[in-house]
């Protein structure tokens, strides 16, 4: 399943994760999000940007707890919980937000 944007094709795996994480850009993120029935707003971007920064430093997506703490810090106490993250990304912040952020799918017993 590939993404088409401005006449260019961006390869993705069976589940819609980009196979080459370096091709990611914001327009592509909007497109992936649309496929997931998500309309990106500032709160979504806050999470996606944090994921990308964390990935750049550690080559892995952060633990849910690390993510909720970061969100709490930037968006406020009432949003620093996994319930809120699931409202933003109903299929789960780890998998769905990573997909939109152009990061590999988290694997394991999660």
């Amino acid at each position: 399943m590939d993404y088409e944007l401005d006449g260019n094709s961006f390869p993705a795996d069976e589940e819609g994760y980009l196979t080459d994480i370096t091709v990611w850009n914001k327009e592509l993120a909007d497109l992936i999000a649309k496929d997931e029935n998500i309309e990106m707003n500032d709160d979504h971007w806050e999470v996606v940007n944090f994921l990308r920064d964390y990935y750049e430093e550690y080559q892995i997506a952060p633990a849910i707890r690390v993510l909720t703490k970061a969100v709490k810090k930037s968006l406020g106490e009432d949003k620093g919980n996994s319930k809120y993250l699931y409202e933003l990304f109903p299929y789960g912040p780890a998998k769905q937000a990573c997909k939109i952020a152009g990061l590999p799918k988290p694997t394991g017993c999660i």
Binding site: I60, A63, V66, S82, P90, G108
Partner: protein, 535 residues
Amino acid sequence: MADFETPKLTDFLETPAIQRDSMAHSQPFVAAPEHQEKLGYPGELVGNWQEKAIDKFGDLLTKYRSLQVYMDSCVKCGACTDKCHYFLGTGDPKNMPAARQDLLRQVYRRYFTFAGKWFPWLVGAKDLTKQVLDDWYSYFHQCSQCRRCAVYCPYGIDTAEISMAAREIMDSVGQGQKYCNEIIGKVHEKSNNLGLPAPALKATLEDLEEDIEDETGVAVKLPLDVEGADILLVTPSADFVAEPHVDGLIGYAKVFHQAGVNWTLSSYASEAANFAMFIGSYEQMHDIAERIRKAAQDLGVKRIVVGECGHAWRVAYNFWNTLAGPFDFLDPDYPVPQHICEFTYDLIQQNKLNLNKSANDHMTLTFHDSCNVARASRMGPEPGGQFKYPREVIKAVCNNYVDMAADTIHENTFCCGGGGGLLTDDLMELRVKGAKPRMQALTDVVKSDGVTHMAAICAICKSQFAKVMPYYGMEMDNVVSIHQLVSNAIILDGQETDEDEEETGEAPTEAPAPEMDMETVKDSETPDTAEAEGT
């Protein structure tokens, strides 16, 4: 993935009417060549796959005497037919354990028995065709290797071993499963199922230390790679990142802290899980187990404790010694290996933990026995310790505990629906349907005893329930870790308690846990999230 309907729960668990081929479409993604080749398997289905598969089958029959016995001994008595959670959840007759076994048995008869070679039509023997291979791929990935059927089989035929053999044959001809094989590759490269690099692990643990200190005022450590520590903890890597797993990890750390032991995690062996068991590969299982022995020796520890992980405990308890032993360098005064529940139970028996049970009073608990712990291992010196220890630990930290129906717990426990390498998004329909028997048993105690939460002892169970419970009208955080309950109740030496907070005028920060809403449980419907799965 096609849309599907979440099974309806009723007043009791019904044996479904047969729905022929209703799950024939359910197949996990096939492993890509790069995932296959890392494990030494052909990248894709090889040209002469029939011949290779039959050769491999022959090898396995010689290597595993049990497989030959299982192939020969089914008398079609029917005792297993209504015991599989996947059959009960789907009604597909190929999910009856005897029928699942027959998918392999028909080929066994055709190529390895006199009658099947000469009179195949008389004995249900079949050629290994592409159609048969497709059936194998589909239905041997609809077996979570939970072994419930084996408990009821008068011959003790273990469908788990049959499905492991089938998966090994498929791997050997280039038709592996993406979920398991990609993960095993990551264990080899990054030492854990997640692919969590050591610096990220270190940062994650430091972050948890901060959280615990913020919460309790006590500097509880989660040490990594400490040479000369007494105890090496190996735990599923989900404990580092997922919920409610991580709350369990915090619980282990508090228990170790309070026990005053010198313990460590290892970045070289930062994973207890051993997915090689799911694909039936002895060689892979050996390599993965070997990491743990090496980590223990390199760090010079005296004991190994295993965290809350079902199949990892089976591998550790049953197979470590022959796979990667002898572990004669460890202290023989302690069990080798030791389960974290044994460790905590022991401290509770010695009155060494200060426990405030009322910290869990907002919950009424029940316990889900994980299949690999319940049916393939033990804890402590007595039979049934694997049932007793987790329950005794829960009861020591909670005032409200109720068991589910007797035919759904202990050795009769139902699989969560996501075990055996099936905890993957591409099998969501199977996972939701396979969870039905457990959801029924849980709903029964929700109604009769006001149960609000279910504790689990396995990373797969926890993730599976967190994902599928919303389909049945429950909240994802209605599943908890055993050591999360311990963590709530334990009062560390020097810990700031609620009374201290009241004195200083601070309100407790933790929001009350959600309770299971009876009305929603009764009228459960597929949640909105189901629509997001079409990817």
